[in-house]
Symmetry: C2
Amino acid sequence: MDRLECPFCGLKKPLDVFDPFCPRCEEPMLIFNPRTGRAFYREKDLAMEKYGDFLPLGRIERKLSLGEGNTPLVSLDRLRREWNLPPLFAKNETTNPTQSFKDRGTAVAVQKAVSLGIGKIGTVSTGNMAASTAAYGAKAGLQTVVLLKEDSTAEKIGSTGIHGAELFKVRGDYAALFRSSYAIGRRHGIYFMNSIDPLRIEGYKVTGFEIFHQLGARVPRFVFCPVSSGGHLIGLMRAFFDLKKEGISRDLPAFVGVQARGCAPLARAFAQGREKFKRVFKGETVAHAISNPDPPAGNLVLKWIRETGGLITAVTDRQILSAQRELAEMEGIFADPASATTLAGLIKLIKEPTIRLRGEVVLVITGSGLKAMETLEKQAISARSVSLAGLHRIIESPAEL
Amino acid sequence: MDRLECPFCGLKKPLDVFDPFCPRCEEPMLIFNPRTGRAFYREKDLAMEKYGDFLPLGRIERKLSLGEGNTPLVSLDRLRREWNLPPLFAKNETTNPTQSFKDRGTAVAVQKAVSLGIGKIGTVSTGNMAASTAAYGAKAGLQTVVLLKEDSTAEKIGSTGIHGAELFKVRGDYAALFRSSYAIGRRHGIYFMNSIDPLRIEGYKVTGFEIFHQLGARVPRFVFCPVSSGGHLIGLMRAFFDLKKEGISRDLPAFVGVQARGCAPLARAFAQGREKFKRVFKGETVAHAISNPDPPAGNLVLKWIRETGGLITAVTDRQILSAQRELAEMEGIFADPASATTLAGLIKLIKEPTIRLRGEVVLVITGSGLKAMETLEKQAISARSVSLAGLHRIIESPAEL
């Protein structure tokens, strides 16, 4: 029987997918798993199976998986030399089935939904999570409801709706919509696997385990991750907590959460030394995927970052776009602006005299630039129109090429 | 020393990346590798390393890889039941670093370029290959030239140009541009790794080896693959030829090449029993990625399909769009229309009394729907706009959900 635990007050309750919040603190609760002696099964195919001992799933139904995870850890040698850095890596989550890290969490949550006999799932999302939940819902034959922001683009609607999900563009406050979704879910038996869903967060742990093994059973010194709701970073942190608890590793990485300056409630609270963040009211940034003015796991991120000696920083849109371009031009990775915050954050920290960068540094690339094509307008990309004869002439002249 | 062999007349010549055509037949030549006794190294990380004995590379430079390959083979159980089929799988190549199968070929060709000391690469492409070549060129620090069709969309230009490639939109005949690229390449030392490049084709073999191992060291009975230039299918076929030559397997799959009815020079030649295809002059289909009126490896595809008892078929745009929707709604895979031809072709063959479908059937999903968002307009997807209060009311009424 699965249980939830409040990471603030320690209160425990049975797993309730319709209400994963602490009745006392009102904070999101996490899966409580006191088990130790867990093992890896790295010879297995599915990432969930490799690390199944660390997931709250009885058995893993292969037919519900789209083959998420097993993503590459790419060495960024050219950027490393350019910036005179220690060994630098990108964990490229854009190679997931719906091109974002969300698939790892959705995969675990859908396993749980099916094992509990739940026939309807849903999510509240601005983009990546919508497409991911719709895809896994389709694969499992579940009815799927997606609640989108009013201003969602035709592209986001298309890549979610193609999977047959029921789509609603909801007017009004997004944070209120997030909270309302649980009431709707309880009433109608719809499991809203939102950003801070405790099963979803367990799925993100697998990324941490993969990084550890891809580095040759080593804990990196730094892990940079974009922060929106906080769920992803919490999952990554829990992976390394698990490794330590099992005695597999002694150290933890320093976790660096990166936000966009235009919407940085957690970076601001961190800078001010506050335990709780204040929601912001306008979030304007090119990094739409992390433009979350009221992050539901924000206070937990602040607590754990403080406890583990990490930090939260914010970068400007200009820094983000420049980092997006550098990742693409130097390393061949087309990240969305949200993911590019990781490189932007790293470059910002290089200049800080208080930080000593050493050991391995991992940037978690969470989503594909293909899902944020609108921001490419800001990148001044152009193609020259020529005739075939003109092409010969241009290439003739070495100055031009 | 690498050599090329003409698959028609058997002529051999030293590898020449600037001219991979047979001087006698004018057909694309392939890597000649008489070696046997090759082994797999499945414990390795990179797909190229696992199957390195089967690739014409001296050593594999890890720093040139983006982590291509190792893509999931997803069991399509819901479609299987719906259509009463034998075991059905999708080899999901959209989880490659630039979201298409092209990365496997580019990865091998770029290894060769760097080992030969070539500093400039290029490609002639309408989409997926452009982004792939630009990404790997960036990773390797090579200068990259991409020649695009005149009517290339802003999205294709954006996702290629972000990697810093030099882009030219070239007016005039696409087939003439393809041929001219080799003259330009020779003159200026630019290795044009086009669709039928022999190193690129070797890279596609790895997909075949992965399918074999993912099925538990079994050869599938059928492999469905979209056909454009023909390079991809030739690579897949060569993988299974290699397995047979090594004595690892006894059988070959039946290969089914699928084209879009609107641009089907090979399906037409196959139906008419001709050895050589005739180029078509207008190619109109929603499956832009395979709209190739003059496929450079077309005659070889016809020859090998005939010799191995496979077939080439064509499907209509309506069948393609319906298959795209079914893959997304039933199995959670958002394929581009070109990839959806595989399912459309399978559904078409179910109804043919002469074909007996049995054994394992594999559909090769070559590219992501995210790269063909323009076709989503034809899929009639919509989202309802509601207020938060309205949402409660709608979900209240079970008929609506």
